[in-house]
Amino acid sequence: MIVEGQISGGFAQGYAVAVAEQLVHDKQGQVVTGSLMDYYLPRASDIPDIEMEHVLFETDDNPLGIKSVGERGPNAPPAAMAAAIEDALDGALEVTRLPVTASVILGALRSR
């Protein structure tokens, strides 16, 4: 239960990194997304359902054969989302930085 909770939460964080959360600085170096009014953290309605499958095998890297799970969640969503967005836009956008916000996608579509 804890493992799945970690993955669920990690997924949400990775998803948000891919499409929403962004530290923006102005020309003077002042952070302009310094509060939750400007820095978008996903709400319950933003996070899609996920399905989990566990692949269980021991590691040889330590005597107990154990692995961590807490940090795994956020790794996959940014790459998966970026690839999915590139695919959906059919070459209009090459994702080189995150997040891919709605305005980035609109900009790419307009300049096509």
Binding site: A12, S35, L36, M37, L41, R43, A44, S45, I47, D49
Partner: protein
């Protein structure tokens, strides 16, 4: 200049002299020492400070203590009874509806309003009603499960006649 306020908190009448600028959440936390109500953002975004005022879920960092004068306030400390955890608390516990737990008090107070509006909520309704409560670590999936479990439990309890 200080103002006298009388606020019913979790069924107990509290009377105190407060600065007019004192926020309700600071009244609860610092004057009454009810620290279950959290301060997350102080800008009404995160929902960690959600309490119920006269039966409605409000963000207590957006309400002055003087505005709550005469009101009935319920905090997370008022959820459980001497018979044990509230069904909402029980459901969060059983469904792992929290990880770090910081958003949980506000989340549960919002859920109580959610379930009074929608005793049998759809996932869409749950997500919509919790729009004002941000959670960083659960990914919301288990919170939604907890709400569904709490709803079922509360419906079962409502269908059983209460012995007087």
């Amino acid at each position: 200049m200080k103002h006298s306020v009388s606020i019913q908190v979790n069924g107990i009448r509290t009377v105190n002299e407060v600065e007019p600028r004192l926020l309700l959440v600071h009244y609860l936390r610092e004057v009454l020492h009810l620290t279950g109500t959290h301060v997350g953002c102080d800008t009404t975004q995160c929902g960690c400070c959600t309490v119920q005022m006269n039966g409605l879920a409000v963000k207590s960092c957006t309400i002055f203590a003087v505005q709550a004068d005469g009101a009935e306030v319920r905090t997370v400390e008022g959820l459980a009874s001497k018979n044990g955890l509230h069904p909402i608390q029980q459901a969060f516990k059983e469904n792992h509806g929290l990880q770090c737990g910081f958003c949980t008090p506000g989340m549960m107070m919002a859920v109580q309003q959610l379930l009074s509006r929608y005793p049998d909520p759809t996932v869409e309704q749950i997500k919509h009603q919790l729009d004002g409560n941000i959670c960083r670590c659960t990914g919301y999936h288990n919170i939604i499960k907890s709400v569904q479990a709490a709803a079922q439990k509360l419906r079962e309890l409502a269908s059983v006649p209460v012995p007087r």
